[in-house]
């Protein structure tokens, strides 16, 4: 998994799984289709506005609510490269990585990054840079096994590849 760079789309605190992917769309597990409705609960046109490789930046407790694995699948399906937040809800954190969505937790990102800013993330060092204002934030480095897991597309794909 290499360095990630993209345009930031910012959201506030407590973005729950219902706004990430509203319940009526849970009838499918097709990530492209889920992706078309990603974040529809807060921004109905989100999936049309973004381009592949963009980054979601959020506040505290991103992904709270239900344990639906559809939430990270929708974000990934929409083409978002990674989510950077102050903190994640525990089950979302596990599900995101297991579904192959890269996520990074770092203090100060909600306040230090604005929508439209160009942001880069280095998984090896955990360093996040906002190129719009030259501010730097630090997440935990992502260990190589986890980078492999995400590059493989998720936990089961990774496990099978390793065998």
């Amino acid at each position: 998994m290499g360095r990630i760079e993209g345009k930031a789309w910012t959201f506030g605190d407590n973005i729950d799984t219902d706004v990430i992917i509203p319940a009526p769309y849970l009838v499918t597990t097709d990530s492209a289709e889920l992706g078309r409705h990603c974040m529809e609960g807060v921004d109905p046109n989100f999936s049309k506005k973004i381009v592949r490789g963009d980054i979601i930046v959020a506040g505290r407790n991103f992904g709270c609510g239900s344990s639906r694995e559809h939430a990270p699948m929708a974000i990934k399906g929409a083409g978002i490269a990674c989510v950077v937040a102050e903190s994640f809800a525990r089950i979302f954190f596990r599900n995101a990585l297991n579904m192959g969505l890269a996520i990074f937790e770092a203090d100060g990102v909600a306040e230090g990054i604005a929508s439209g800013d160009r942001v880069s993330v280095d998984p090896d060092s955990g360093e996040i840079i906002n190129h719009a204002n030259a501010r730097r934030f630090s997440a935990h480095p992502m260990p190589s096994f986890m980078q492999d897991l995400i590059a493989s597309g998720g936990l089961m794909a990774y496990v099978l590849k390793k065998r």
């Binding site: 344990s67 694995e69 809800a89 525990r90 089950i91 954190f93 596990r94 599900n95 990585l97 297991n98 937790e105 935990h140 480095p141 992502m142 260990p143 096994f145 986890m146 897991l149 936990l155 089961m156 990774y158 496990v159 099978l160 390793k162 065998r163």
Partner: protein, 420 residues
């Protein structure tokens, strides 16, 4: 080197590392993977769709059909069929057929399948119960279990630890259930999110292993990833006669780092009740007010062990359940069941006009064997009192320990044993 907590030491040992730091991601070897009749079928489906021929270790997977067993309907029968077929096909040693089956978190420690210093993952949120033996135990998803059945590994973010010290001794009737309800009431249902709750102090040393399990069981009710008690002589006595393999004991260094520390005076903690509809809505039993009760449930992975049944029987002895109350007692495993019978506890319960259920989760999650109707109120020794948890959305659950549950059954209202 900086001091380490027991949790960090166990994780480091299973990752083949010298030391680990809270927040970092690790891949670790597990000692046991657990799933039940709700979560195993999904894990099995994911596992089988991957086309893998063998599991990582047929002796380190436990499949426990406890939630809707004895099968409550056709669909639950089918769920267990999936588990039974999988167990036969892959030679899973610890598949517990009815007759050997108990509630998973009562059964596994009792069978010596969980030991100090181990890592246990379960597709069930109350897997944290096993932390009472000084293991790192936590709930994960069915996909995690499917992958772990292939590799014997799981990934974790190393949790920060919170230290809870209970000074002095508990008052009469007060148990681990009251300590943990009080603690959740203090820190809230998200007070320990992501974290490991470490319980220590004179009052914890004085608790039975069973009461420590009750405390660790409810760590998840404060949002925690795990609960843990460092092993002592009581732990050794408990595991020595049961252990199915060698184990290693860890404890926290005196200079270990905690994100938060809290100290309580156990002698000041009264019998607790968590009122509807959250486990942190707690107060002392005498502050609950007059609440008429329709049903009392004594059982579950929280309080379905022999010590719990003994305490309930001590309150019920020579008394009768209020005629307006249904008392259901659920021994957590066949061993608990036999022991309660041999000790004469069944006679006491039956004389009091309560009834005894086979081991099952049953009413705890609103499954069967004691569902509440509209507007009904129950006192239960279980761990969750969410809206509709035990039946109709307008029903209410009051969480308490076995002494309060039994006294409430006799008095027909929420009450402590001192009122008898």
């Amino acid at each position: 080197m900086m001091g380490r907590t027991i949790t960090e030491k166990i994780l480091a040992a299973h990752a083949g590392r010298e030391a680990v730091t809270p927040g970092e991601l690790l891949s670790v070897q597990i000692d046991l993977a657990l799933a039940n009749d709700i979560t195993a079928p999904i894990a099995i489906e994911v596992f089988e769709s991957a086309g893998v021929e063998t599991v990582f270790d047929a002796d380190r997977i436990a499949l426990v059909p406890d939630h809707f067993v004895p099968n409550k309907d056709i669909r639950s029968a089918e769920q267990v069929q999936v588990m039974r077929r999988f167990a036969a096909r892959y030679g899973i040693k610890h598949f517990f057929e009815l007759g050997r089956m108990g509630i998973e978190h009562v059964l596994l420690p009792e069978q010596g399948l969980v030991l100090p210093g181990e890592i246990v993952i379960g597709a069930d949120s109350h897997t944290c119960t096993d932390g009472a033996l000084g293991a790192f135990a936590t709930g994960v998803g069915s996909t995690d279990i499917a992958a772990a059945m292939v590799t014997g590994e799981v990934w974790f973010k190393v949790p920060q630890s919170m230290k809870f010290t209970y000074k002095s001794r508990c008052r009469p009737w007060v148990t681990g259930k009251d300590l943990i309800l009080y603690t959740i009431g203090d820190i809230g249902v998200d007070g320990a999110t992501y974290r490991a709750m470490e319980f220590t102090g004179e009052a914890i040393e004085a608790l039975s292993v069973s009461e420590r399990m009750t405390m660790c069981n409810m760590a998840v009710e404060a949002g925690a990833k795990s609960g843990i008690v460092a092993p002592d002589q009581k732990t050794r006595d408990y595991v020595q006669k049961r252990a199915t393999r060698p184990f290693q004991v860890y404890e926290s260094d005196p200079d270990a780092e905690y994100v938060q520390e809290r100290v309580y005076d156990a002698s000041g903690i009264e019998l607790q009740v968590a009122c509807p509809h959250l486990p942190d809505n707690t107060r002392a039993v005498q502050e609950v007010g007059t609440v008429a009760v329709d049903q009392v449930v004594i059982g579950s992975c929280t309080n379905g062990r022999i010590e719990d049944l003994r305490m309930a029987a001590a309150v019920l002895k020579g008394r009768k359940v209020d005629p307006k109350v249904r008392l259901i007692v659920i021994p957590g495993s066949p061993t608990v069941y036999r022991q309660a019978m041999e000790e004469g506890l069944f006679d006491i319960i039956l004389d009091a006009q309560g009834i005894i259920s086979p081991p099952t989760c049953g009413p705890c999650l609103g499954g069967f064997m004691g569902i509440l109707g509209p507007g009904e109120k129950a006192v239960a020794t279980t761990n969750r009192n969410f809206v509709g948890r035990m039946g109709h959305p307008s029903s209410e659950v009051y969480l308490a320990g076995p002494a309060v549950a039994a006294a409430s059954a006799v008095l027909g209202r929420v009450a402590g044993p001192e009122e008898l």
